[in-house]
Symmetry: C2
Amino acid sequence: MRILSTELPQHVGNQIMISGWVHSIRQLGHLAFVHLRDRSGIVQIVLEGELATLALTPESVITVHGQVVQSKYGAELHGTQVEVLSPAQAPLPIEVNKKEIPASLDTILNHRALALRNPKVHATFTIQSVLAGAFRDFFSARGFTQIFTPKIVASGTEGGSNLFAIQYFEKQAYLAQSPQFYKQMMVGAGYERVFEIAPVYRAEEHNTSRHLNEYTSLDVEMGFIRSFEELMDLETELLQYLFHRVAETCPEELALLGAEVPVIEQIPRLTVQQAQQILLEQYSKTSPEGDLDPEGERLICQYYADQGKPALVFLTHYPREVRPMYAMPAPDHPALTASFDLLFNGLEITTGGQRIHRLEMLEESMRSRSLNLEAFADYLNLFRYGMPPHGGFAIGLERLTARLLGHNNVREATAFPRDRNRLTP
Amino acid sequence: MRILSTELPQHVGNQIMISGWVHSIRQLGHLAFVHLRDRSGIVQIVLEGELATLALTPESVITVHGQVVQSKYGAELHGTQVEVLSPAQAPLPIEVNKKEIPASLDTILNHRALALRNPKVHATFTIQSVLAGAFRDFFSARGFTQIFTPKIVASGTEGGSNLFAIQYFEKQAYLAQSPQFYKQMMVGAGYERVFEIAPVYRAEEHNTSRHLNEYTSLDVEMGFIRSFEELMDLETELLQYLFHRVAETCPEELALLGAEVPVIEQIPRLTVQQAQQILLEQYSKTSPEGDLDPEGERLICQYYADQGKPALVFLTHYPREVRPMYAMPAPDHPALTASFDLLFNGLEITTGGQRIHRLEMLEESMRSRSLNLEAFADYLNLFRYGMPPHGGFAIGLERLTARLLGHNNVREATAFPRDRNRLTP
């Protein structure tokens, strides 16, 4: 039976079998030292005599039988038999066994399956898996139902731009930009509290370090809320839980990446107006009407980091014209919305808010934007037959991962990114 | 603070607040009996005097304040204040508050968000959420990493048919039929054991009770397997776990649906040839070359059900020509494959098997099918740099749910189905 590299110390003195990739080879006369990498870690194997002369290439997949010996560097394996399950061609197109792969991000992405073997690159997606699992655990424990809604849709949630078109037999269809309408439908269908973990699609021409054309959206929607403040309370608790789980589960991956997980107590909440005021006063920085630009997002996070606080801040009360037609107007501020963004280390990772749940108000909001109400018939029907007050938010999984781990480019936190130019591998 | 209907018994004698949908109303002189439905269940509310004359419509969303009283039928609420959060128009387009909605499946699907409020319809997706969560728990506990791979791809896994085309800026792209290549890449990238829960797309013209054009695939792939039997062992354990979790978590939903969860010990394994032999001997049923037709799939499950066993069976050793180019030939039977299907209550819910991991064998398999090797360059690269023996399987979440709960049409286990004709809601 195969054992894992991390299990070696429990088998000192025993004959065991181990399998994995040849991470490195050092030949010293009649001895060869092979570092073998498996999903749990890296272990040293000592080969003597004829075995030491085997022509092993880096990244070949091998199985080694032998005896576990305690050396001064830890448990190692003295090999008695080596089997090559799959030889690797040499040379490798990228040097995955350096601490950092000496290649551009573009080259790394061209050889993605190979690049992911580099322990540091590898660590990111181990952590991403933990984040997704913790997201589900958090909401399951709170009575949320996981939903699966279609990504092939008849129309966009906003009437049109940035949609990928698809020929659906005789009909024109689109790839969903978000599960917004469907998660609202599932709230209205009586599940009340729902979440979804699924891809979304944005046909944006932007080709920046922040944009992906396909990404994983962690979506939440919740009925019977009393205010949008509740949603920010919920997301604060969620992030506390996610970060705690990552810190607890992945200490080695975090160390490898040099990442420190912030410990959150409260996340400050500023209105957009207040944030703009701080930017002006502290950094002489002006902002666009009712919003922050990327530089402003960076600076307002910096503002908290400079005070030794986690670089997280909720921005609230965006004006109606920069938010979708379904955004609920803010209490006492009808020109503003009961909505928020969450910024983390300089980048927006969440958009959320309370939604309009009254039919007349929604129709009026659509008309004010010159939207064709007939194109939204299925959505509008939802509000005819009893819809509770509700709201929710969505987190981009790749952005969250990138911000947490200090990756400057969101592609580094995407296994196989799709961007303006990249469609493979 | 709002409490849930199921929490009422813990609050007898107290003043509480409850919110939900008006499930039914019965007026008797100066009294009105309202059944209120929330995400946890249904509770009776008694209204007297002026409150009894409120013009409440079915499915309106209301909040009721009042005192919890123990009656001979259980805890009920004597309302003192009723607030209508969202009135429902009358009449409803479908009668969701009957035990069974008296309408065709097509009508039900046209009014899906409303239909899902019917407790029996509702129960299916509560169970589906539990299945998906249990799937993740099972694999997380076994060292599997959850992966997120792109659904916009440059080519199909098999060279072409049944693909939805999409215009990806200047390029032609497709919607992924399966994450097959990507899950293999992630095994080869050193994660070894991976799973994915994500939509897949099939542009099939079939419009049957078994087909969907978009569905949720529960995908698994695992490195360092010694035989494809291991994969069937793993899936057997998985189903034992999933079914146990559903039975434990959802007894009320199962009762409502009249569904009994099978208790699995072992799942029988037949070669396709053996299954064909049984069909011929027991049912005088002939089969197509190297495969079973839908009638054969139904009968071979019936064969076990008639013996009082769970209607589950693995079919193995499909001929190479009915399996994909990446299917590993069976040991000692080079014309057959180390592959399997799992049939459950008459329908295939899984396809799986060992994959070819040697470059030369894979290229030879592709050439024998006249596939263009250059179109698979990224995939083939994977096998140049060390790829362990591996295999996996995929389960259709909607089919699994439908078979488990006794739905004849897979659309009944799909929140918002996409089929040959249906693109909305």
